[in-house]
Symmetry: C2
Subunit: 348 residues, 2 copies
DNA sequence: CTGTTAGCGCCTTCAC
DNA sequence: GTGAAGGCGCTAACAG
């Protein structure tokens, strides 16, 4: 055990508010006030306190503050993947919406697996967030129970669940995909295939597939032209492999819709490689308006959702709900439907 | 006195350990033990406690636990961007390395801005992480002071700072870029340009540019052929714009190196669009081995770094250091140099 | 504007 | 294997 400063009572731990208070010649409470924004403190005391803080290298312990004030000062957001510009845009929107109020965002990622989501929710709740944003409308039973019991505002995003837990800020993935099929049909495509992942791990991907199926049925197009493989979210590489399977299985196919722009891009590059003209031989469309699709040659037709706006709206709503909760009030569950937008580009 | 007054049931608030204890007919201490893994509890008591937990919907308050045990159970990691597969791979490696020990990872993103990093560090430290991982070796002076004073293990990654704060797990961006220039030179390219961002906001990008400059000078190649524009990290779209500028400014150019695969991809697509053969008219190379480069047509020559391994190594080191700290010991500063690897592909 | 008192909910420590 | 006492560092609620 290392020798300690004999003057200090505690062994080598971090300085506390009491240490600062002593050094500044005030009480701990005054230090506490000096370190918040809206408190009334004499300039003289504040100056001495800040000097003491600086000298001691004091860092406020929010853990203790949370315990005593019952305000953790953070909200949790769970997204499927941190490496997906859609979700990172939503996270940015969230951050922008809440940061002015002093709340912090804690991100967790679920890898598109609801069981991981459940575990993350459980461990996030142990840190007592003041609100929580989840992606999608499907969760394990226990996750739903945990969220409902937590007595904090919950927002489900990127989906329109039939039985929401609390608030919703999203859109219908099925409806958006349906619109895309109709759009391609309007441009004359009749033998339209779909490329997606195998399992329903990615629930939004599964909803999109269902939207596709519904659309080809209502348009009387040949259906069942679906290539499903790979663990969602399917990658660019898997998109490349899938387009080859799709064309070899149904050689008369004239358009391929991919569950996201990433797989659409992989498919597109594979077409280049094989000398299949896009859209001459086959049209390609994706979903999500990723940069890679905007930039690819040819540029990829897609469905755009304003991911950052989802985040901002969710953040604004969360803020209102949290402030209401702090006053002991409550905001009744809201359901905000965000628009989506077809973007016709060179690939179709 | 905390004499259990059955009449004074707090209505609004979440159940506490005392509530669980009362329902299970044990003391709070026994509940606490039942909820940890390595404690010795009778099977009977544990069963009753878990039933009570379930019935009440009790969720452990880690805030209080942290305060009393002085173990927050989490480590902070700061990355420049959440939407970058390199950094998200590092984050995944970190998570994998630490999760078995029960530690959680809290991610923050700095947008490549050291001032944001400083603010994030300050707010993370208020929550008392047991360790912290930062990206890069350049920080504000105050950030360095905060980290040094926090008395927790610090790991700088993705760089080899000359004066590390504590531990380092990284590589030299300049050396890697230098190797890429030499590689292209070895394949016969002589008029090699560089595309990067304007400011030194992205310090790794700046290091790469310096590596390029150093290499062209030592090879006696024409230099100054650098296009710098856009706020780093420069995007695919900016790569497209930059390649046009590069070619119009130095029409004899035979190779373009981009600060990352993303801008290289944008440049490549623009070449397609303009009918410039790659690598016939101009070779293109990137940095980072992103999926878009592996999948593009043609596939993009690049420098690969095992980003996930950086995360795993940093995580392993952090664990050792944290466990040492819990025993009152310390791990002397380590400096782990990770390998990089040239990947020759179709674009050069 | 500033100080005092009394916890927040859990875990450490020590006794049984 | 279990319980009682005490305190972690801070802030709410009241004085003054």
């Amino acid at each position: 055990m290392p020798a300690d400063d004999p003057a200090s009572k505690r062994p080598r731990s971090q300085p506390t508010m009491a240490d600062v208070a002593e050094k500044a010649g005030v009480s701990a409470m005054t230090v506490s006030r000096a370190l918040k924004k809206g408190a009334s403190i004499s300039e003289e005391a504040r100056r001495r306190i800040l000097a003491a803080v600086d000298e001691l290298g004091y860092v406020l312990d929010q853990t203790a503050g949370t315990l005593s004030s019952k305000r953790s000062g953070f909200v949790a957001a769970l997204i499927p993947s941190i490496n997906n510009s859609n979700f990172s845009d939503t996270a940015r929107g969230l951050t922008e919406a809440i940061e002015a109020s002093g709340l912090q965002l804690l991100l967790g990622y679920t890898d598109y697996v609801v069981e991981k989501e459940e575990r993350l929710i459980a461990s996030m709740l142990q840190r007592r967030p003041e609100g929580i944003v989840v992606t999608g409308g499907r969760h394990t039973e226990r996750a739903r129970r945990l969220l409902a019991a937590a007595a904090i505002p919950v927002i489900e995003t990127w989906d329109l669940p039939a039985e929401p837990i609390d608030h919703v800020v999203g859109f219908s993935n099925a409806a958006a995909m349906r619109a895309l099929v109709h759009h391609l049909h309007g441009r004359g495509y009749r033998r339209i295939g779909f490329i997606g992942g195998t399992s329903n791990r990615d629930t939004r991907g599964e909803d999109r597939r269902q939207g596709y199926v519904q659309a080809v049925e209502e348009l009387g197009l040949p259906h069942g032209r679906t290539i499903s493989f790979g663990q969602p979210p399917i990658s660019m590489e898997q998109g490349a492999e899938a387009i080859v399977r799709l064309v070899s299985q149904w050689p008369d196919i004239d358009a391929a819709i991919c569950v996201s722009d990433l797989s659409a891009f992989g498919a597109l590059m594979e077409c280049h490689r094989r000398g299949w003209a896009v859209p001459g031989r086959i049209a390609i469309a994706g979903f999500g308006d990723f940069e890679v699709g905007r930039c690819a040659f040819p540029r990829i037709t897609t469905v755009a959702v304003d991911a950052e706006a989802i985040g901002r709206s969710a953040g604004d709503l969360l803020l209102r709900a949290i402030e209401a909760a702090r006053r002991g009030a409550a905001v009744p569950p809201e359901r905000q439907v965000m628009p989506f937008r077809l973007i016709q580009r060179e690939s179709s």
